[in-house]
Amino acid sequence: MLGVALELRKISKQFGQVLANHKVDLKVHVGSIHAIIGENGAGKSTAMKILCGFYHQDSGEIIVKEKKVRWPSPKEALASGIGMVYQHFMLAGTHTVFENIVLGTIDYPWSLIQKKEARLKIEKLSKYYGLALDLDVNVEKLSVGEQQRVEILKLLFRDTDILILDEPTAVLSPIEIESFFGQLRNLKNEGKTILLITHKLKEVKAIADKATIFRDGKTVAEITPADFSIEAMAELMVGRKLVGISDNRNNREEEKSSEVIISLPDFKVHAGEIVGIAGVEGNGQRTIIDQTLKLRTADSGMLPEKRLEEALMLGASLYENFLLTKWRQFSWWLSPKIIMPYVKEVLSRFDIRPLNANLIAKNFSGGNQQKFVVGRELWSLSRDLTKDNFKGPKFLLACQPTRGVDINAMEFIHQRILEQRDRGHGVLLVSSELDELLRLADRILVLYRGKIVKEFKRSEFNETKIGLAMAGGSSS
């Protein structure tokens, strides 16, 4: 094994009341791909931002290439060879690839842009690492995968040898992920050190040499992913045994109901069916969502993609947020005496903590906010004798229902979606996570450039074929 590229020793960082990092230890070897895994809010991004000089640790030390360092700003970290590719790319669409790459590499404002030299260097790098790009097109014309290449070239151009990548595969189609991994291996073989922040354990197993697991702001383990099963890694990440979801679909005959729940221009959703929409983001999902919203009736629920902007008023209490979509079910006089018990019912049934409907939404964690939205949308005042208020709406539109939630909340939400189906209701599931679709959907429709290009029945589900269709390739 080669030397140590960098080391974090007992790094702690506090934001207000929250201890984001508590005695974090990390050791990364030169020329390795090291995964940083953990759930949202586990402190992995904070640790990486400290490493890049965006934040400063309260205590503990950073050692890079056997020297103790403390960066005043990201600039110095970059100068010492540590660079980060952010989840949201730092590229200006109206500028060319070339301009985006050379930005900020010269300190003197009035110096001319050295086109020839810089070009030569970029072309050499892109050939060497297999990152083919046209330098003269505007970045906005590139696919997301190509934009990512620009970001990586940007770092290589600055002679970065420790690359930190934040959730790099979140925006890529399965095909792009494969070629992206190829690029990472190239980089590794040339002696670059790569830190990969991710929550996708399958990818960790596929590519990482080592992995450090974060939980509740601490580093709980350093493992060799090759020796661990995905389930074992997940349990380390969550800190307890996972229950898993029960799906009784497999024990049941495939029965197709002819009752149409909702009829869109391009397809229908039947009773007792989960229709999944697959596709790389921005390939027409918005159109389908908008079409669905137009056909919405009183008996339909909606889990929007951007929960914080579209489903919750962050500054209002959960009680008020409950009324936001449910006020129609009560009389014109909204009496807290009558309604509050129902809100409490949602909170306790969906295990939302703290169990206080008068607290404003902002004070709840992301997972709890999410669970509240799910709970609210599945709630409807029962009009029959069963008094069961959680029969759920006849039709549910779920867009990226588990984005940004921890594993427990994810299992919970998946279970609820499956229950909807078992009750004979219809669900339209729009998700960019193929695993989620494979797990839940009865049918998957693949979107590419605004059109449905392929349909898969559950018996035909095949990750490679669906992935290929998502990238616009035909599968035969």
Binding site: P74, G93, N100
Partner: protein, 283 residues
């Protein structure tokens, strides 16, 4: 005949070109600048007063540059340091200039309307044109060939990208707004000590806003912006020639004077099409 038209167009476009390049500096860096009108007023007034006092148009211009820089810095202070709303602070500067100038005029010359007339030797004959060519070349080169130009542009398109490359977008904006103030002020000065002889009320007459319009028509690019200014200059020349021509039908002069403004409106609503403003403009 063609030469005389070309010269008049160039003359009347001069203040527009200075000011709209000023607006371009500001907006490309991501800051909306509707204070151009006020900054032009400040420039026109300062240049006229100092030229009167010192009998030198060059000193007048220098003073206008200083005043413009201060105006630009003040605007930068409002929107960058105090994080004030850009439209409101810009309007405030416009109103401030419109209110303060008559007051100072009254103190200096006992009249709120105008400064005394400048003698011929206190005015410019052609120097602003030379300066114009120089400034145009400088700004074209800035955006095309220099790192600074790239930084200004990134500051308007994606400030976070600039920050992550280790350059402070706030610093770039301070610089760009100061330049913007200077350029607008030179534009104003060229109205009072080049096109006319002295400052008079309503002298700028919306040229600041027209410069903004030209910049938008020019799609925030230096070359097309200059062309748009020349187009507005052409409208102005047509308007002036129509006024002095013996027309067979008696058109009210107001109707003729309206031409450049009408063209601004038509062009901005009809011809611009999809706007391609810097993405982080106003944020």
């Amino acid at each position: 005949m063609i030469l005389s038209w070309a010269m008049s167009i160039l003359r009347v476009s001069t203040p527009l070109i200075f000011a709209s390049l000023g607006g371009l500096m500001s907006e490309r860096s991501g800051v909306i600048n509707i204070a151009l009108e006020g900054l032009m007023l400040i420039g026109a007034f300062t240049a006229a007063v100092v030229a009167l006092m010192t009998h030198s148009p060059y000193l007048g211009l220098m003073a206008a540059i200083v005043a413009g820089a201060l105006g630009g810095l003040f605007y930068a202070f409002c929107v960058l340091k105090l994080k004030a709303n850009q439209i409101i602070s810009g309007t405030a500067i416009n109103l401030l200039a419109m209110g303060m100038i008559p007051l100072i005029l009254k103190i200096l010359y006992g009249s709120t309307g105008a400064t005394p007339n400048l003698e011929m030797n206190e005015r410019f004959l052609s120097f602003p044109l030379v300066l114009l060519v120089f400034i145009c070349a400088l700004i074209f080169a800035l955006f095309k060939y220099t790192h600074l130009g790239l930084w200004i542009s990134f500051s308007g398109e994606h400030p976070d990208a600039l920050e992550s490359a280790g350059i402070s977008s706030d610093k770039i904006r301070w610089f760009a707004l100061t330049c913007s103030g200077i350029l607008a002020s030179i534009g104003g000065a060229s109205v009072s000590i080049y096109l006319s002889s002295g400052y008079s009320r309503n002298m700028i007459g919306g040229r600041g806003f027209m410069s903004l319009a030209a910049m938008i028509l020019g799609r925030w690019r230096p070359k097309t912006t200059v062309l748009a200014c020349l187009f507005f200059g052409l409208c102005d020349v047509i308007q002036m020639r129509l006024q002095s021509a013996n027309l067979s039908i008696a058109l009210p002069t107001q109707l003729i004077q309206i031409i450049p403004y009408l063209m601004t409106l038509i062009v901005l609503t009809g011809l611009v099409g999809k706007s391609i403003a810097p993405k982080a403009l106003g944020k």
